[in-house]
Assembly symmetry: C2
Homo-oligomer: 405 residues x 2
Amino acid sequence: MTLIEGGVCAALGFRAAGVHVGVKTKDKNKKDLALIVSDVPCAAAAVYTKNAVKAAPLLVTREHLMDGQARAILVNSGNANACAPEGEENARRSARAAARVLGLQETDIIVASTGVIGQRLPVEKIEQGVETLAPLLSRQGSSDAALAIMTTDTVKKEYALETVVGGKTVRLGGIAKGSGMIHPNMGTMLCFITTDCAISSEMAQEALRRAVKVSFNRISVDGDTSTNDMCCLLANGLAGNAPVTGEGEDFDAFLKALTELCTKFAVDMAADGEGAKHLIICTVSGAETEEKAETLAKSVISSTLTKAAVFGADANWGRVLCAMGYSGAAFDPDAVDIAFASKAGRVEVCRDGRGLEFDEDLAKKVLTEHDVTIDIRLREGKAACTCWGCDITYDYIRINGDYRT
Amino acid sequence: MTLIEGGVCAALGFRAAGVHVGVKTKDKNKKDLALIVSDVPCAAAAVYTKNAVKAAPLLVTREHLMDGQARAILVNSGNANACAPEGEENARRSARAAARVLGLQETDIIVASTGVIGQRLPVEKIEQGVETLAPLLSRQGSSDAALAIMTTDTVKKEYALETVVGGKTVRLGGIAKGSGMIHPNMGTMLCFITTDCAISSEMAQEALRRAVKVSFNRISVDGDTSTNDMCCLLANGLAGNAPVTGEGEDFDAFLKALTELCTKFAVDMAADGEGAKHLIICTVSGAETEEKAETLAKSVISSTLTKAAVFGADANWGRVLCAMGYSGAAFDPDAVDIAFASKAGRVEVCRDGRGLEFDEDLAKKVLTEHDVTIDIRLREGKAACTCWGCDITYDYIRINGDYRT
């Protein structure tokens, strides 16, 4: 499995483009409409937010994917089309416009939106925009598409990798966005993945479900699960491998690559959390079950006080143990060891649930690094889990105290 | 039912004091050890944090209250005695020292601590401190005791009120602290309530459980449930009413007063949340059940993004609906009305789950007031609930980014 260039267009037969149409801002340098198209029909899979309030494009997309087939993805940033007047109608109009310029069926189009909730989508700009967009579609378009789906993201998120399935080289690539309103409960962001692997829509759905569970569902920026989260996968089969239609070695190889890709996007999102200065990596090992390890690690990365401590480079491990305590997972507080680690070193701060004397200067150095690991060890069993989060900073407050204006 | 002076000493037969012993800081103006004593034996009730990691003083207090009786409360601030070396032994030594100077049994003493987690309690300072403290006990000591239990609180929290139970005037009063690490799951702070009402320990426990459920359990500052939360009630019976030993009119009168008192403390804590500039009052009405209304309201006051929006005086109601959506409560997103209100006016921002055109200038004015109400109306039934929270500010980050140093 190797990383390759090309992002969402790395897989054979995919083209993409991104342009400015004015939904996000008047600044013509800010792209806000992206299109991703496969030359041939694709098996399609998607997972959606578990928020009870679901944005209109998710409802329309879910309907379009009933047959497990799609060809193209149209995404706008700047307006979430959630809780908005004429939301569903406007999502349909967007899909219809894309279908028309691409010569496809309306149901072949996946639509997604991200941005402010509750305002009417200026669908006319999107209808006109797709006319400009379609001629720009190219094999080099991934970067523009990645830029067009960003909101408060500071870093463009695009990755691709290559692996072997059934003796054939297959490529998986994608683009993603996610910075605020991020909390593990399914998608928690937008992520569009393409592959030329031949795989049935059922197995694509199964692979996506499993990959999301151990990647996107293990990050948190602010505990707020968005109304618009979606992760979808288009597989067009052009790699020429024997189609993956069930469990087995080929499925495992595909799942491994998909999980790797999703994890890269997830970690990027946590690191690019709104205002974040640190990526927090929390590993829990020695747990009885992976589920319990996950509950504990998630609680730690979600703790506002722990996030603030990392921001302040303060080795306040009591907040870590406190967050484990209210997680809901049963564990023995007297059999917990905690250490902080980064490339500057490692400091053991708690053994058997009790504070250790430690070198405060070294702890400060360890916590000043960008990537900070909170290493938690139980003595219950052999299961482990890693979750990713970020610190909470003045900039998070600034960004979210005045987002709409 | 009327508010009266005297705080935790308002009820007949209670004396209190607070002094500086150097656990919190060297600054001799900062008191950090409080003692509350009843002249006669009391029925005692307490509720504790649901955090699986419980501080040592809670474990010792729970043991001491097995018989439903107590006489005194000893509290220090500056050190939580949680996850600390020799925690239980030091909690016992504190109780023993208080028992000795007061001429009571060790098991008559309730001990509590609040402050930094994981560091050894300097119990020697407390043992010496109680010697100074005991002679200072007085009927006017509530204010000093209230000051001595504060950590990051900016406002002293003491209230008392008078009501009639069984034809007799009874008094209830208390002191409380709570500013950070506050999240509704039982006590979420320290609160010590005294009353001269005659009531059995069983009914005192029942009243406290019910009062806490609708007051402290409906606030949140930062989503972090502390390891040290405790709310306890001492009832010494000096009011001379016929003892409350079961449900009925007298119990209801007592419960009503206790709930009023707990609610005043709870709202104060939310308003005095670390760094907070606003009290957020979220009311959900028209719900099918009170439980559902509470789940929705709690989710809204706990949402980091909603808190940041209030900080920025940004009428970003989409975040409110989003927080309702991920609360876990089932509701119809298309039958939700939302308004923001304060003494500056009222702005309807969402009807039937869709955004309304509204006066942005008025909204800004409404949200600039200190007390901001988020008024949510469903159309499912007649149940309602109010929860209280606060905004998240730069100061919250500053306070918690460098708490230990």
